[in-house]
Amino acid sequence: MSDTTHDGAIATSPTPSPDDGLSPSQLAAKYGLTVSGARPGLVSYIRQLWGRRHFILAFSQAKLTAQYSQAKLGQLWQVATPLLNALVYFLIFGLILDADRGFSTEVYIPFLVTGVFVFTFTQSSVMAGVRAISGNLGLVRALHFPRASLPISFALQQLQQLLFSMIVLLAVVVGFGSYPSLSWLLVLPALVLQFVFNTGLALIMARLGSKTPDLAQLMPFVMRTWLYASGVMFSIPVMLADKPAWIADVLMYNPAAVYMDLIRFALIDGYGSENLPSHVWAAGLGWALLVGFAGFVYFWKAEERYGRG
């Protein structure tokens, strides 16, 4: 607090002071000094984080903008990249492989594109989370702010990225005959839940990645396995019809599959509730609360140690 302008008058005096006999910790206690870099309590941590909300938002937007700032087309790539992605999947799975078992093409293509975009949201949040601390050690060692700002900011960046993809997605959905209806509004709560889930996951990965940066090399394989197990390109119940039912159940209640299904159900006319497991909203909410809260606490527990390389 700079209000007490101390005009440089040097207070050093050789006279013996009553503080001489005190140990450093007693001296600190006497003048109300606090341990530098100590971990704040959970509530005051959340308060600090809230105080930094502008930084978190600005940092995520800056990262997003910086991504394409060297390209000639600039920010157009925010939309062009997901569009090209969708085209590739349409080419391979829609035209060449004919993988649309159980669905008509009008349902399958939006089904596929939704799956890809929604899964990419989680995937890139995890990958950004791993490097959130270990890739920004310079920042962590130079400035003071609640460290959770970084993984949250990266998750937020991915959310903004997804919103650009949504433009493409809505165009695809309409192009294949599902027109805007009230059920589209369900996309919003589903995205909020997925965002909370992703943030929790990014926080967990950030702490793990700060200790073991090697995870950045390992995670793509884990994520690819998760992608194939979540039914991004196929319908789980149709594909696993001849396997024991519990396998399909496990796969369908995994968070990635749950959020994909919620958004597909909201957007695609031909994708009714018969394709969804029961209590799917409860599952989505449960995953978000569980992972969001656990991830936050887990990250906060190591707050004072993140500067160490």
């Binding site: 910790s25 600190a28 600005a58 700032s69 400035l143 500067g307």
Partner: protein, 264 residues
């Protein structure tokens, strides 16, 4: 936050207390062994028992104890790698101490925002981003924005502030970084050899700004290899060597001993 009780004339109010601080860096890979994949693998396998063996420890600060008081300007000197910057980071609470404790009044801050800025963004956005990263509010930044830009002198040669920072010359970028960092007031301010940026004109301006910051801050730490700038600004000097506090006393005394030791 800072309870400035007992600030009578003559009373010495401590602002920073370092109590037997040790800092250890852990460095991956640098292990004396082979760098091959099999060696790395066997390191990972052996890690099971106790401390990771593939990790080398660098004991950067070894048992430093001192007390800094309100109104003091303290210089840190020592040869390269003696642990000066590391000690500053520990005081700022940015680098956790292995053992020992640092007690501070309020939140000490390092002068510098380099790490928060992004070369691909315009100078304009970097001013805002850097300000937010230092913990300023949006209103504060809006108020000081023009001051920061004017101080940096970026716009003296045309409208550069709206161009990406990667298009700046290295001197221009350094000036903008300093201007952003120096825009905030600090309780306990730490400066890590920030003085030597930009051209002659800018150096004079920035030295002046640092003197202003000194007046506003309770306590100032300055790391520098220029004995002149230490003499100009500091009244007390800590001499670090190999992570140990070799000497702590009035500027003249310590600098003399240091110059004798380093042969100058």
């Amino acid at each position: 936050m800072a309870e400035n009780i007992d600030n009578r004339a003559g009373a010495r109010v401590p602002t920073v207390i370092a109590d037997d601080v040790h800092i250890v860096y852990r460095v991956n890979a640098g292990s004396g062994g082979k760098g091959s994949a099999t060696a790395a693998l066997s390191r990972i396998v052996r890690r099971e028992k106790g401390e990771a063996r593939g990790v080398r420890k660098v004991h950067a600060v070894r048992g430093v104890t001192f007390t800094a008081y309100r109104g003091e300007a303290i210089g840190l000197i020592g040869t390269n790698g003696s642990g000066k910057s590391t000690l500053l980071r520990a005081i700022a609470g940015l680098l956790p101490a292995e053992s020992g404790k640092v007690y501070t009044d309020g939140q000490p801050s390092l002068l510098g925002v380099n790490a928060a800025l992004m070369n691909d963004l315009t100078g304009e956005r970097n001013v805002i981003l850097g300000g937010l990263a230092m913990g300023m509010s949006r209103e504060e930044i809006r108020e000081r924005y023009q001051g920061i830009v004017d101080f940096s002198g970026i716009n003296e040669k045309g409208d550069f502030i709206t161009l990406p920072m990667r298009t700046y010359s290295s001197g221009m970028a350094a000036r903008l970084r300093f201007s952003i960092a120096a825009a905030k007031d600090h309780d306990v301010l730490m400066i890590d050899e920030a003085l030597a940026t930009g051209d002659r004109r800018f150096q004079i301006r920035s030295e002046q700004r640092i003197r202003e910051l000194r007046k506003e801050a309770g306590t100032v730490f300055l790391v520098s290899h220029s004995n002149k700038s230490i003499r100009d600004t500091c009244d007390r000097v800590l001499w670090l060597e190999k992570g140990e506090l070799l000497m702590d006393g009035p500027t003249d005394e310590v600098i003399k001993a240091y110059e004798k030791e380093t042969g100058r």
